[in-house]
């Protein structure tokens, strides 16, 4: 991406520079994360999904610690990985994952509320956990896995 500073870059040089900058941003934004982080994440979202079968107050007692554990792990292994403090995630990169997880929640809630099919939360839990595992596998393939 070397360009002389006395002339503007050519379109190809500009394209190459932008690609390099995107890689550099991603190297900080998306550090290598241990593979088990995604296993824990899958267990947490499955737990949060299944907790919807519990009475509201009990569900809160189950969900809050799970979310806190996941938040602490993300804080340690993602947002403040070695050499980085406060990595910023691009919301647009999270959209597919959030769409699947929140969409599954909405569908399960609608089916349960309208038909009384409470068992829908079981396939829902498998779906949300699966989304985390697929996302994690893609993440590790693209950015590597850390310790």
């Amino acid at each position: 991406m070397e360009t002389p500073s006395d002339r503007p870059p050519s379109p190809q040089e500009a394209r190459d520079t932008l690609a390099q900058l995107a890689k550099d941003e991603d190297a900080v934004r998306y550090p290598p994360i241990p593979w088990w982080f995604f296993l824990v994440g899958a267990a947490v979202v499955a737990g949060v999904t299944l907790a919807q079968l519990l009475p509201a107050k009990t569900a809160a007692f189950v969900v809050l610690p799970l979310v806190a554990v996941m938040g602490l792990l993300a804080h340690r292994y993602w947002f403040n990985a070695e050499g980085v403090s406060g990595a910023s995630v691009k919301v647009t990169d999270m959209v597919p994952y959030l769409t699947v997880v929140l969409g599954t929640f909405v569908v399960c809630w609608l089916v349960d509320a309208t038909t009384g099919a409470w068992w829908i939360w079981f396939p829902g839990a498998a779906g949300t956990a699966g989304a985390v595992l697929v996302t994690g596998s893609r993440y590790v393939r693209e950015y590597g896995h850390g310790r």
């Binding site: 503007p8 379109p11 932008l18 550099d24 991603d26 190297a27 900080v28 980085v84 403090s85």
Partner: protein, 100 residues
């Protein structure tokens, strides 16, 4: 991110300084050693680039301790972020104007 005006910035135009700004733009702070490892350049070369960015008011340096180790943390200032994003927009405009 606010839409900065597209403009080439002489300070960040140099390839390594541009890459430093890219990395710093993705976090609140990045450690000197992490930048050096990702850029694969010498300590003195990185220090020189950082000094130029700091002189322009684009980067701040702060010593801190993490895991019982003393570390030098770098952060992009709002002016630095504006200059970097403006530079990126200028590059994007060149690419967008290319008919090929």
């Amino acid at each position: 991110m606010a839409a900065e005006a597209a403009a080439f910035d002489e300070v960040v135009h140099a390839p390594h300084r541009l890459r430093i700004c890219a990395m710093l733009s993705a976090a609140q702070k990045v450690e000197f050693a992490a930048l050096q490892a990702k850029l694969d350049i010498s300590k003195s070369a990185l220090s020189k680039h950082l000094a130029q960015l700091a002189d322009a008011g684009y980067v701040t340096q702060e010593k801190g301790v993490r895991d019982s180790r003393s570390r030098l943390w770098l952060a992009l200032t709002p002016e630095g972020a504006r200059a970097y994003h403006g530079h990126v927009r200028a590059l994007q405009e060149i690419v967008a104007a290319d008919p090929g």
